[in-house]
């Protein structure tokens, strides 16, 4: 008994205890006996008191009443789970707006005199360009709200992104500007692909209800606008305060500026932070990127399986032709695309090699190279690109890239007893006059992962139908549901189950 219950009791009541099965006749025992006896008597005499004359208040009825009320209240609560994304967002953002507005935060901030930024220390030319770009950002962002046609809104969004890249360049943050530029290109491309792959009817319908709420009075717009204004204003105040107090602050950024070159031999301090000082962030970041790509692939693989009868909407393809997005196959574009692939690859390699001293790093290298592939998808179409680039299996790029990243992080522990994510500090390793940075291995890993992931994203989004066809054979089911498809790949019929172990070994070896 003791080892079982003592710990339990000690947990509940922090006192010393001793337990006995029987502790003698005492008050507690007497009360227990009395309780048990009275209960027993009540049970024996139940025929008497169950037929007791009707009381005005009956336990059972009270319970039923309460139970009913509780159910009604619960149903009322559950109504708020309306299934409409808009209302969820309104609820969350509205609550946030209330928190920000009601916290008395702004009273404090306005009291401090540091709100309005002052001091002009930028050259006049840059100042003008800077201001122009900022205005352009505002105009194009607002335009993207009011432009009904998706494709124009996408263009406005693209302009905004490029203008932001320009602002980064003037800031001056060339590395960020480069990445922003590339990512904006990729994002715009993806958005156009998405628009071209959704049916025109659905988009027309969505455009019609764009400014309509559930109620005809359309008050929702004002509610949305109020929330947006409060949040926007809050962030404006935060940004103004931070900028106004810039020069007075001490940060760890200064240490990075001072130590990048002496300790690592990397001139580009941003690259030094990304690949070494805060290399962990980057390692997880490329994992995020890779997992997003794998998620897209998995979604594309399964979406067809859950709706196997969804026909390809013929309008989609026609519309694409009309818009001239895909395919864009003219002799000229074919030449351009053929040429662009080696060129982007070359640029990527240059970024990789000179990441330590110039803007551009593993990430930009990966995106660059994948833009080359994207151009092929656009120009040659999915089928031909797959045929021409049959060696290109994005998933293995991801695997190899992340594998190198992990191994690269582990090597110092094995070889030098150094630290994880530390890098082997190779002195004077300058083959052929090129000075490699110590983090080249990591940069390479980043580039491979990002290239694989970006290519996978573009491929999967650009041509889901075909991609699905290709992948089905790899999914093997234990379910005994009638499987209506014959799995044929490259002319041979796989019986997946018997071959899988061998395949597994093969691919692990590769």
């Amino acid at each position: 008994m003791d080892p079982l219950f003592i710990p339990l009791l000690e947990t509940a009541v922090p006192k010393e205890f001793e337990l006995y099965l029987f502790a003698g006749f005492n008050d507690v025992f007497a009360i227990s006996v009395a309780a048990i006896t009275s209960g027993f008597l009540l049970f024996l005499g139940r025929a008497q008191w169950l037929n007791f004359p009707q009381l005005p208040i009956q336990g059972a009825r009270v319970f039923d009443l309460l139970y009913g009320q509780l159910q009604q209240f619960a149903d009322l609560l559950l109504k708020s789970q309306s299934g409409k994304l808009r209302y969820y967002l309104v609820g969350i953002l509205g609550a946030m707006a209330l928190f920000l507005a009601g916290s008395g935060l702004f009273v404090d901030l306005f009291d401090s005199e540091s709100l309005i930024p002052e001091g002009e220390n930028l050259a006049a030319v840059i100042l003008a360009l800077d201001a122009m770009l900022l205005v352009l950002v505002i105009i194009s962002a607002v335009a993207s709200v009011f432009l009904r046609q998706h494709i124009y809104a996408v263009m406005a969004l693209g302009i905004m992104g490029y203008a932001v890249a320009g602002i980064f360049f003037i800031e001056p943050a060339p590395d960020v500007a480069l990445v922003q530029f590339l990512v904006e290109t990729l994002a715009t491309l993806l958005l156009i692909v998405v628009i071209s792959r959704t049916s025109a009817d659905e988009r027309q319908k969505a455009m019609r209800v764009l400014w309509k709420g559930q109620h005809p009075s359309n008050m929702g717009i004002w509610r949305d606008a109020a929330i947006a204004l409060i949040i926007g204003f809050s962030v404006f105040v935060f940004a103004a305060v931070s900028i106004a107090n810039r020069p007075e602050r001490a940060t760890i950024g200064q240490w990075h500026l001072d130590n990048a070159d002496p300790q690592l031999g990397i001139v580009d301090v941003v690259a030094a932070i990304l690949t070494d000082f805060r290399g962990m962030d980057t390692l997880v970041e490329i994992s995020v990127f890779a997992m997003a790509a794998l998620g897209i692939l998995a979604l594309v693989q399964t979406s067809r399986l859950s709706d196997p009868n969804t026909p390809q909407d013929p309008r989609t393809t026609q519309e694409i032709r009309a818009r001239g997005i895909i395919p864009l196959s003219t002799p000229f574009t074919r030449v351009v695309a053929t040429v662009i692939f080696p060129v982007t690859t070359l640029i990527a390699i240059v970024h990789l090699l000179y990441g330590a001293r110039a803007p551009g790093d593993g990430f930009t290298a990966g995106v660059m190279a994948s833009l080359g592939v994207a151009a092929w998808y656009v120009v040659f179409g999915y089928e031909e690109t797959r045929r021409r680039l049959s060696w290109l299996e994005p998933r293995y790029f991801i695997g190899v890239g992340m594998g190198i990243a992990v191994l690269n992080a582990l090597t110092p522990i094995w070889l030098e007893g150094g630290a994880f994510m530390g890098f082997l500090r190779i002195e004077d390793f300058e083959p052929a006059g090129l000075k490699f940075s110590t983090t080249l291995g990591f940069e390479l890993a980043i580039a491979l992962t990002v290239f694989g992931a970006a290519t996978l994203m573009i491929g999967a989004l650009a041509n889901p139908a075909d991609y699905e066809e290709m992948e089905i054979e790899e999914m093997d089911y234990l379910d005994t549901e009638p499987s209506g498809y014959e799995v044929t790949v490259q002319g041979e019929v796989h019986s997946t189950r018997s071959e899988t172990p061998m395949d597994g070994q093969k691919s692990e070896a590769s």
């Binding site: 050259a123 990445v179 993806l190 319908k205 969505a206 105040v237 990075h256």
Partner: protein
Amino acid sequence: MVDLLFAITVGVLFSVGVFQMLRRDLIKAAMGFSILFTAINLYIIAVGAFDGNVPAYANQPEDSQSSDPLVQALILTAIVVSFGSYALLLSFVTTIARRFETLDSDEVNELVG
């Protein structure tokens, strides 16, 4: 004035992003998502500590002030991470359009109660 304009831009982008995200059209809402993440990048630049006039490179002349390298590194990470979610979001939109045959987020409401 540019600094103030910068702060205003960040604020406007946030407002526009939030407003855009509350639209019924899923593609428009996705654009709002993208605007919000661009805005947050500008905000991170704004919180950088140094008013730099040269890029954050180690071999700059003595009298120049580098821009804050740390916030730039943070933005680079944030851009990549948010682009990952954005791409995933776009693939959801495409698949939703096929599976639910609508782009109106009010009609994608089978999960109730």
